[in-house]
């Protein structure tokens, strides 16, 4: 049992820190005005990503032939901790690096890997994930976007939703039904869609806190060349499942939540631990102690998944525990922060005395999405119960699969 990194890994961390010390002053500056125009967002992202790529501190787990550094999951985790948490550049390609491009890396052809991975590492391309549809969220396999054969390629038509950063994206990884006779999981294929192609329309969805990350994406007879299929034709579900496991595996999303969590904890401490503490706030103390413990558990479970990945195993259902932990912890902590702040917690700005220019109520609104995105809490609990505990699939799915009794 050893929870520490090896001396070599700690030395790597020191290298990363040294690079950050030297290069942070040269990083693109945060915007003076909000909202920042999209081209400025993109510009800041590309500049910082290029700096990282030149230092071999981007996509470090990928082979060097595709722009990575050929390192392991522990080094990837170290880079996440030391660089991603700095909040220097916008995270507009987080889905690309977390899901789309790893899918290309693991299931794509050699030509696809050479075409798409290196420019993405250098910050030249942004990717989005075209999976969810208005009628197909957790029940993803019921999706209706069609892919019809068209010469040596395909024509895609349908509607996608909840597509993070589609408004910045150059490419989308799209799951569509390529065989209309295939039932549910069969007959789906995974396509690379050029988001600038004719027939692709992106419409913004505003989150309840005013921010814009999500979009609707309309595909209207979009032509996709035959060599843009990732993995085998009609095998898209298998490719997608491997992708979703990656999303919950080595994505280190919980590490990215650290700065937000720390801001909440600090705000709570300023109230509860200071002179402004009011009688009757004992309940908040108990809830905060529980949250602090959850944050620690999140880190420990993250290390367990990392340890599994570092020893060569595929990401398993255990990573669902980490997802439940970061989503539910962040959500509860965001709500607790507002309660502790009291009336001030409902102020969004307008006066310098408003805490953190209204970050806390915006964070609270955003946190509602945490237990929905990247696998809803209900789906995650199904995964834990069925794949780890071995309980049977739920009655609805079992009935659908079972032979029906003859009608009378």
């Amino acid at each position: 049992m050893d929870f520490n990194l090896s001396p070599e890994q700690q030395a790597y961390r020191e290298q990363v820190r040294a690079w950050v010390r030297e290069n942070l002053p040269r990083a693109p500056k945060p915007p003076r005005r909000r909202p920042e125009p999209p081209e400025k967002v993109r510009d800041r992202y590309s500049t910082w990503q290029r700096m990282r790529a030149d230092a071999k501190l981007a996509c470090v787990m990928w082979p060097e032939a595709y722009g990575g550094a050929g390192l392991g999951p522990v080094e990837h985790y170290i880079v996440s901790e030391e660089i991603d948490t700095l909040g220097v550049a916008p995270t507009i390609n987080v889905v690309g690096f977390g899901i789309c491009l790893p899918t290309v890396l693991h299931a794509g052809s050699e030509a696809q890997k050479r075409t798409y991975l290196p420019p993405a590492v250098r910050g030249e391309h942004v990717w989005c994930q075209l999976f969810s549809e208005p009628g197909s969220g957790s029940d993803l396999a019921s999706l209706k976007t069609r892919a019809e054969p068209d010469g040596d390629g395909w024509r895609l038509s349908g509607q996608k939703i909840w597509t993070s950063f589609a408004h910045h994206a150059d490419y989308g990884l799209c799951l569509a039904r390529s065989d209309p006779r295939g039932e549910k999981h069969k007959g789906l294929s995974m396509f690379i869609v050029n988001m600038k192609d004719p027939g692709v329309t992106v419409r913004p969805i505003r989150f309840s806190n005013g921010e814009h990350d999500f979009n609707e994406v309309f595909l209207d007879n979009v032509h996709v060349p035959g060599d843009h299929v990732v993995g085998a034709v009609h095998q898209g579900w298998q490719v997608a499942m491997a992708t979703l496991m990656l999303e919950r595996g080595t994505s280190n999303i919980h590490v990215l939540f650290r700065p937000w969590i720390q801001r909440c904890v600090t705000a709570i401490r300023d109230v509860l631990g200071g002179e402004a503490a009011l009688p009757g706030q004992g309940e908040y103390r108990a809830r905060l102690a529980r949250m602090l413990t959850r944050v620690r558990l999140m880190e420990l479970q993250g290390l367990r998944v990392l340890n599994g990945a570092a020893s060569g195993g595929p990401p398993g259902p255990e990573s669902s525990l980490v997802k439940l932990l970061w989503s539910e912890t962040n959500q509860e902590l965001a709500a607790l922060t507002l309660e502790v702040l009291g009336p001030v917690g409902a102020l969004l700005g307008g006066d310098e005395a408003v805490p953190e220019d209204g970050f806390f109520p915006r964070n609270w609104l955003r946190s509602f999405g945490n237990t929905l995105e990247a696998g809803s809490s209900e789906i995650l609990r199904n995964i834990l119960a069925e794949r780890i505990l071995g309980l049977p699939k739920d009655a609805g799915r079992a009935i659908a699969a079972a032979p029906q009794p003859p009608a009378r």
Partner: protein, 392 residues
């Protein structure tokens, strides 16, 4: 980084599970509870032969000199098997002797503990939430040839079967009982020592009340004599012994919670209602998933805490008090959730005396109420994070 058990540690766990399943199945646990008899002496003796009673005792005193992680493999299986008896009392008191007592006293006591010939208990004074609201008040009055001990404590783990008891008392007349505690070793049958067995929720732990009315302790049985006869000096053994107890309670909870979860999942897969196993319904399935979530969180915290106790603080980078407080808070909440959900999934059969689940419910609550409440650990977590104490 390596978050797996060594081959030896895996073997210890496997051996312990097989041993307790064979030597102390739940029917024997039930009998021990109903007879208030603790663990059968023959089983205790075999545990000694396996080296478990001297797990943390140095090898030169007949022990195994193992670490906390090694020990945790055994304690987890004790929790899984609901092992009756005052094992934790012997463990804690022997640890106190190892950490504080003069060499001669260690040589006199520890080898026979490791051989299973001597059982111990630990009685600690304390006011405030640490041990319990009924926490003892013991003080030691210095005489020419030693000390006279006075005071009482309502519930001491393992005391009903103990041959000797380590008492934490203040020197002189106390001002505040929580500070300046030093340790003394008393024979259970000495004059001035009154031990009364208690009826308890969990009837296997051999709890008893302790009343000292001028019990005489010679100087060579004052464990902290070397630390100086000053009321200001706290025994250096107390903090690590408390950490050990916290860890042991957490692993006992882990083993029990894991087993209740397994029982519940098995039942949910067998019991049918409305034409399907109840485990197909999400209302039941998600309770099982939450049980797994609780158990795995406890496992993550407890294995980390054991490691924190096994390596120097500069190596772990963690405050042992914080690690143990978080682990115990998680243990209390996790086992409680597993019991509630397990009972609900089982239905009415689980609340009958006939069903085994209620045995685990009693153990879980006893663990949760022993040596510090959830609120106590939560306040310690806040203190370690720089919060001022709750003054209201």
């Amino acid at each position: 980084m390596d978050l797996t058990y060594s081959e030896e540690q895996q073997l210890i766990g496997q051996q312990a599970r097989e041993f307790f399943e064979r030597e102390c199945p739940l029917e024997r646990v039930r009998k021990a509870w109903s007879d208030r008899a603790g663990l059968e002496p023959a089983v205790w003796k075999r545990m000694a032969e396996l080296g478990w009673l001297g797990a943390l005792i140095p090898e030169r005193f007949g022990g195994q000199g193992l670490g906390h992680t090694d020990l945790s493999r055994i304690v987890e299986e004790m929790g899984r098997g609901l092992l009756p008896g005052g094992y934790l009392g012997t463990l804690a008191a022997a640890r106190a002797l190892t950490l504080a007592a003069p060499e001669a006293l260690q040589r006199e006591v520890l080898p026979s503990v490791a051989r299973g010939e001597r059982r111990l208990a630990l009685a600690r004074s304390g006011e405030g939430g640490r041990f319990d609201r009924l926490g003892g008040r013991f003080y030691a009055d210095e005489q020419d040839d030693g000390y006279l001990l006075f005071g009482e404590k309502l519930a001491v783990l393992g005391l009903a079967e103990a041959d000797q008891v380590v008492v934490a008392a203040v020197l002189g007349l106390p001002k505040r009982i929580a500070e300046g505690l030093q340790l003394f070793l008393l024979d259970a049958d000495a004059p001035g020592v009154e031990i009364t067995p208690l009826a308890t929720l969990e009837s296997g732990w051999q709890q008893a009340s302790l009343r000292l009315t001028g019990a005489r302790v010679p100087r060579d049985r004052h464990l902290d004599a070397a630390a100086g006869n000053s009321p200001d000096v706290q025994s250096p053994a107390l903090a690590p012994v408390e950490a050990l107890l916290d860890l042991a309670l957490a692993f006992d909870a882990l083993g029990g919670a894991q087993r209740v979860m397994e029982m519940t999942v098995e039942y949910a897969g067998l019991r049918t209602a409305f034409g399907h196993p109840i485990g197909t319904y999400q209302a039941v399935k998600h309770k099982c998933a939450d049980m797994l979530f609780a158990v795995e969180n406890l496992r993550a915290a407890a294995t980390w805490a054991a490691w924190v106790l096994d390596v120097p603080p500069e190596q772990s980078g963690a405050d042992p008090a914080l690690a143990l407080a978080m682990t115990r808070a998680t243990a209390i909440e996790s086992y409680d959730l597993v019991i509630r959900h397990g009972t609900q999934v089982h239905g009415a059969i689980a609340v009958t005396e006939e069903h085994d689940l209620q045995l685990f419910a009693k153990r879980a609550k006893t663990l949760a109420l022993s040596f510090g409440s959830l609120a106590h650990y939560q306040e310690r977590i806040l203190a370690a994070n720089g919060f001022a104490p709750d003054g209201r």
